[in-house]
Each structure stands twice: as structure tokens, then as C-alpha cells.
Amino acid sequence: MAIIFKQRPGLVAYITCGDPSLDISREVALAAIRAGADVIELGVPFSDPVADGPVIQRASERALRHGTNLAGVLQVAKQLRQQSNAGLIIFSYLNPILQFGLERFCAAAAEAGVDGALVTDLPVEEAAEYLRAMKSRKLAPVFLAAPTSPEKRLRDVAKHSRGFVYAISRTGITGTRQELAGDARSLVERLRVHTKLPIAVGFGVSTPEQFAEVGSFADAAVVGSAIVQRIEQNPGREAAAVSEFLASLTGTAQGAVGKG
């Protein structure tokens, strides 16, 4: 299993695959890994991303316009695995996986060298068959924990997650925010009671200060919309722009704890 956070906070980088092309997504992922990302979340674009804010909605639309599909995303994963040992997570809504076929997806993901998956709209209650299929291929199911999740739900989320648990910093959709809500810290504390897995905090992390703040209470930070925005704003030099951004993001924090 390649989901290892080498330093604190670890960095999980999300990209919407196929925006602007699968080749560039692969280059951006490699650049993110070189800039310190421990885990890459390979986002599968979906036509109706109800959990996502405008930045990822637009990226998904661009990716779908030229026919990006799950098979293409798995191809990117396979290529990345040949060049890197970083953690690779497929990040998707349920329907593209359902239509691809659950068993077929798990087989193909394992074959590509993927470490796990996070399915945004699949809560633990509905996940029995998914958990079985993932387990049979030694893939790590990562579930979301939310500030609104009561204790029992947090326990189930922790129990069924492998690799890490993804704590949503606040109620809402993906996208950058000025400050992190106090929700995040207390959610991580509540989750710690139920799991020894690393906890990654996501939704809204976009500045060095926020990144450092997450490091003070969680094991890793997920950066998504801020990366996708750099890709959108820097046509022709996407990988370089993401690289620069991540260097500025992590420089302070990882330096501060003396391991960077």
C-alpha cells in the first residue's frame, strides 16, 4: 500500500482528469508528486457533481466535452504508477463506476496499480457490495466524514475506511474559503476516538496558512479546487503553475516542522 504520509501535514492533491486533457493531467500529477504530494486523487468528471463548487464543475464540463471517461482515468493511473510510488486514489461519483461495472472497476484499478477509491455519493450504508469488491482486490475504500456526522456514523466511516479518512472541513461544496471553520479541528478530534488511520482534511484548503493550520491537528491536507483553478488559469503551463503553487503552499509548513 502506497498511502504513506512522509511528513506532517501530508499533501493530498486532487485533479479533475481530462482537464484540459488526460496527458496534461498526468503531467500535472507528476509535477504535484515532485512538489511533495503523497497521494494523488484522480477525479473522474461527472455531469452532475452535486458536491462540487463552480471551479470543479467547470473543470468537469471541460473534461467531459472531449469525452473523458473512467477508462481514460484508469489509463492515467497506470502510467503514473510506472513512474511513481505515490498513493493513487480514484475519486468519483457512483454512476460512472456503476455503468463501468463494480467488479470490472476494481479489477482494472488494481491492475493499474491504484491504491484505493473515494466515491462521493456512496455512504457506508449503501456500500456493502462495494466494500466486498474493493477488499477482494486489496483496494482501500476511503470514506468521507462530515462535521454533521453523529458519533455512530463516524464510527462506521472509520471502521470501513482504509488508507486514510477524509474529513470534510465544513458543511458545503468544494471550493476555496478565506478561513477554515472551527468544525474541522473538532471533527478530527472526534474521529481520532474511532481510528488510528491518518486523517486528511479537505474542502477549502488553499493558502500556506491554512495548510500549516491543518498540520497542527490533522495528518494531511487535501488540496483540490485551488489546484484545479491554477490549471484553469494557466493554459499551456499547467504543470509548472501547479508545481509553483504547491511549493509555496508546503514550503512554510513543512519547513516549520523541520522536515521539509
Binding site: F46, S47, D48, P49, V50, A51, G53, Q57, E61, L64, N69, L70, Y93, L94, N95, P96, I97, L98, Q99, F100, L102, T120, D121, L122, P123, V124, E125, E126, A127, A128, E129, Y130, R132, F143, L144, A145, A146, P147, T148, S149, P150, R153, D156, V157, I168, T171, G172, I173
Partner: protein
């Protein structure tokens, strides 16, 4: 809202990802119709859905809640609605006797008010005073704005900008009633996109806000709860037809977008096996993907916006664009209970094209003095096709789910005199 058990909700068919194996869960209300339904939403919404389910499970058995619901249905909304024998249409078509269930006569002009009263009462019980809703044709938005005015609640309605254009009158009505209408510019700028945006609002403001979903769609408990609030349509129709004819109808016909008016009028007849249940989807302007909204004619099982049902989609699981002249039917998924009724063969689903619906609208206006909503006109269109082939001793009930005032602009563009 009586406590009769549903048919098939205890079916043993497997949901798409298997049965919830080792986690025996006590749900107050069954969340599946055969393998359809369920609860496919981001974790942030799960607690709110469980809270809603629990609140509804208590409320539906609470006499005071039921009395208040039925009092408002009668005194505010104007129930019961008549079952009207359409004599001229019957003669003209020369077959079955045609009865119209007049939901178009309800306050706000469509059946949607039934569900809005029920959910607003529930939101009040739950202490949530901010209401959000999506709307396609605007009928659900108007009904939501209406009950929010009645209960003094804050109201935000999401509506695709394409729908705002073609249902301009309803946009104005919502604003008159004090609601804020937020235009949605993504995707096909219709109902599906309005639901996405309402879900994004809900996931952000879930602690203070109730999402007043307008059809038998979405995650559990919505499909069951919304159906229960509309059951009164079929309960009345069954009593009325028995009183008028001393027997049950041969067929009940209703249009199906998400399917709330259809399930409302069907539900009481499901146990009457001799009564044919016919749902009419939007055939749009062509047969290829993107030109219609007939989920049973080109769609397949999938997950959209919280529920597992028939969905119009491509091979990669991306949701297809849809088209219908009627905004209320212009949606790529159908309520999960309809998927189950379809697979069981208990209900039959057909489609009517844009042109057939427009023709039917005009025919009903000219023959019976009733201008139906273009959604309801799809049901009339099927009746026009079917009644002549039936025996004169047969009885057909068509649910006229709403009135056509809102469609005057579209009719003006499409009907030549």
C-alpha cells in the same frame, strides 16, 4: 397517510451494490422499492436525511399532524377536487367513458401543493425555518413559495434559466409571494440543474434548512414521503368513481416527470389488479438521446441525485440532456417507485410527443373548456389514443395534474389559429 403497508417495499431483490450485509439497520420506513431507491448522497447530508426520516416516521403516525395536514388540504388548498365526466370528449372519441381528476382546480393550480403543505408542516416540527426548493415548470416553486408565505418561512427557489424563460409567469408569481428565485445556468439549465444547485445549497446550510423536494425523487425518505402526501389524489378518485359508477375504472392515466402526480393517483389502485395504470413520459421531438425524456425508452438503471432508478445516460454513466415542451417532464430520471412498478409489470409506461401534447391541450380546451398544463396534456394525449380502442363500458380516469395558464407563452408560440 394511512398506515397500510406498501406493496413490494419488502421485496428481496438486490440493490445495485448488494444488500447491506452485516449491518442490520432498523429503518423507520423502508427505503427501497424492490432494488430501486436508496440513499446516495454525500456524507454531509446523511444525518439530515436520517433526521428527516425519523421526524416523518413520527409525524405520519401523529393524529394532530394528520389532522392539520388534512385541514389545510381542505381549507387552504381546496380539496377534495372533483372527478369530472368529460362527456363531449367521451362522445368524440367513441370509446371508454372519460373522467378527469381535477387537480388543476387546486390552489396554486396543480397537485404540487399537497406535498408542499405536508413538508412545510414537517419542517416546522423540525424547527427549520429556511426552505429551499427546485422547480421545473414552476408549479412546485409556486406551491413552495405559497406555503412559505402561509407559515412565515424564508423561501429560496432554484430554477434553470431555460425554464425561467419558458415559465416566466410562474417566476413572477413566486416573487410576488415573497420567494427569492435563483437562476441556474449550468447544464441544460432545466430541472436537473436546479436540483443540483438546491442540493449544493442544502449541503452548505443543512443545519438550518429544509430541502422541500418537489417530486418522488431524491434520497430516501423523499420518494416515500412525497408519495404519501399525494396519495390523497387516488384515495379521492377511487371513492368518487365508485360512487359515480359503482365500479373501478379500467385504466388510470397520468403524466410522469419525476412521477409525483402519477404515483399519487396510482397508489390507491395498485392493489386493484384489474385497473391498468398508465404513465406517460415526454416523447419530446425525436427518438435519439437528448431529444426526449422517456426514461423507459432508452434509459437504464443508474444513480442520479440520491436515488437508484431508470436514468437517461450515456455508456460512461454521464447523465444525458433531455428535451420536452413541458418543463415539468423535462428530467432524465424517474422516481424509483415507478421503476419498480415498471419492472413488476404493474404499471405501463408510454410516451407522448411535444406535438401530441400540444394537440391534446387544444382539444381539451375546445371540447371541455379546460386548459390543462402541458405536462397533464401528455396524459390527455394518451387518453385520446387509447379511449377509442376501448369498449363503451370501460372507464378511464385521467389525472389533470395542473392547469395551463403558466403555458400560455409556449402555446402562443406553438398553436396556430
Amino acid at each position: 397517510m394511512e398506515e397500510t403497508t406498501s406493496n413490494g417495499q419488502d421485496s428481496t431483490a438486490s440493490p445495485p451494490l448488494g444488500k447491506p450485509g452485516k449491518q442490520p439497520r432498523v429503518r423507520a420506513i423502508p427505503g427501497r422499492f424492490g432494488s430501486y431507491g436508496g440513499r446516495y448522497v454525500p456524507e454531509t447530508l446523511m444525518a439530515a436525511l436520517q433526521e428527516l426520516e425519523a421526524a416523518y416516521a413520527v409525524a405520519r403516525k401523529d393524529k394532530a399532524f394528520r389532522n392539520e395536514f388534512h385541514r389545510l388540504l381542505a381549507d387552504f388548498a381546496g380539496r377534495p377536487t372533483p372527478l369530472f365526466l368529460a362527456e363531449r370528449l367521451t362522445q368524440e372519441l367513441g370509446g371508454a367513458r372519460i373522467y378527469l381528476k381535477r387537480e388543476d382546480l387546486l390552489h396554486t393550480g396543480a397537485h404540487k401543493i399537497n406535498n408542499c403543505i405536508g413538508q412545510a408542516l414537517l419542517a416546522r416540527r423540525m424547527g427549520k425555518h429556511r426552505i429551499i426548493a427546485e422547480t421545473g415548470a414552476g408549479q412546485h416553486g409556486v406551491a413552495t413559495a405559497t406555503v412559505c408565505a402561509l407559515f412565515g418561512m424564508e423561501c429560496v427557489v432554484y430554477m434553470g434559466t431555460e425554464d425561467m424563460r419558458r415559465q416566466e409567469l410562474n417566476v413572477f408569481r413566486m416573487k410576488l409571494l415573497g420567494a427569492e428565485v435563483r437562476g441556474v445556468d449550468s447544464g441544460s439549465r432545466t430541472l436537473k440543474d436546479a436540483i443540483n444547485e438546491a442540493m449544493r445549497d442544502w449541503v452548505t446550510n443543512v443545519r438550518t434548512t429544509h430541502y422541500l423536494l418537489g417530486s418522488v425523487l431524491g434520497a430516501h425518505p423523499y420518494p416515500t414521503m412525497v408519495r404519501d402526501f399525494h396519495r390523497v389524489i387516488g384515495q379521492e378518485a377511487r371513492k368518487q368513481v365508485l360512487k359515480a359508477e359503482s365500479r373501478l375504472p379500467s385504466a388510470v392515466i397520468a403524466c410522469v416527470g419525476g412521477g409525483s402526480n402519477a404515483i399519487g393517483v396510482f397508489y390507491e389502485f395498485i392493489k386493484d389488479r384489474e385497473v391498468k395504470l398508465i404513465g406517460v413520459e415526454a416523447g419530446g421531438r425525436g427518438h435519439s438521446l437528448g431529444e426526449h425524456a422517456a426514461r423507459f425508452d432508452g434509459g437504464g438503471p443508474g444513480v442520479l441525485q440520491g436515488t437508484y432508478s431508470y436514468v437517461l445516460q450515456d455508456q460512461g454513466g454521464q447523465i444525458a440532456l433531455t428535451h420536452s415542451v413541458s418543463a415539468g417532464l423535462d428530467y432524465p430520471a424517474i422516481g424509483p417507485e415507478h421503476a419498480w412498478l415498471h419492472d413488476q409489470g404493474r404499471a405501463e409506461y408510454v410516451s407522448a410527443s411535444d406535438q401530441e401534447a400540444l394537440d391534446a391541450c387544444l382539444k381539451l380546451a375546445r371540447m371541455e373548456g379546460i386548459i390543462p398544463a402541458l405536462e397533464s396534456a401528455h396524459a390527455i394525449a394518451e387518453c385520446i389514443k387509447r379511449a377509442p380502442k376501448m369498449d363503451k363500458s370501460d372507464i378511464v380516469i385521467v389525472n389533470v395534474s395542473g392547469r395551463g395558464d403558466k403555458d400560455i407563452g409556449i402555446l402562443r408560440e406553438n398553436v396556430a389559429f
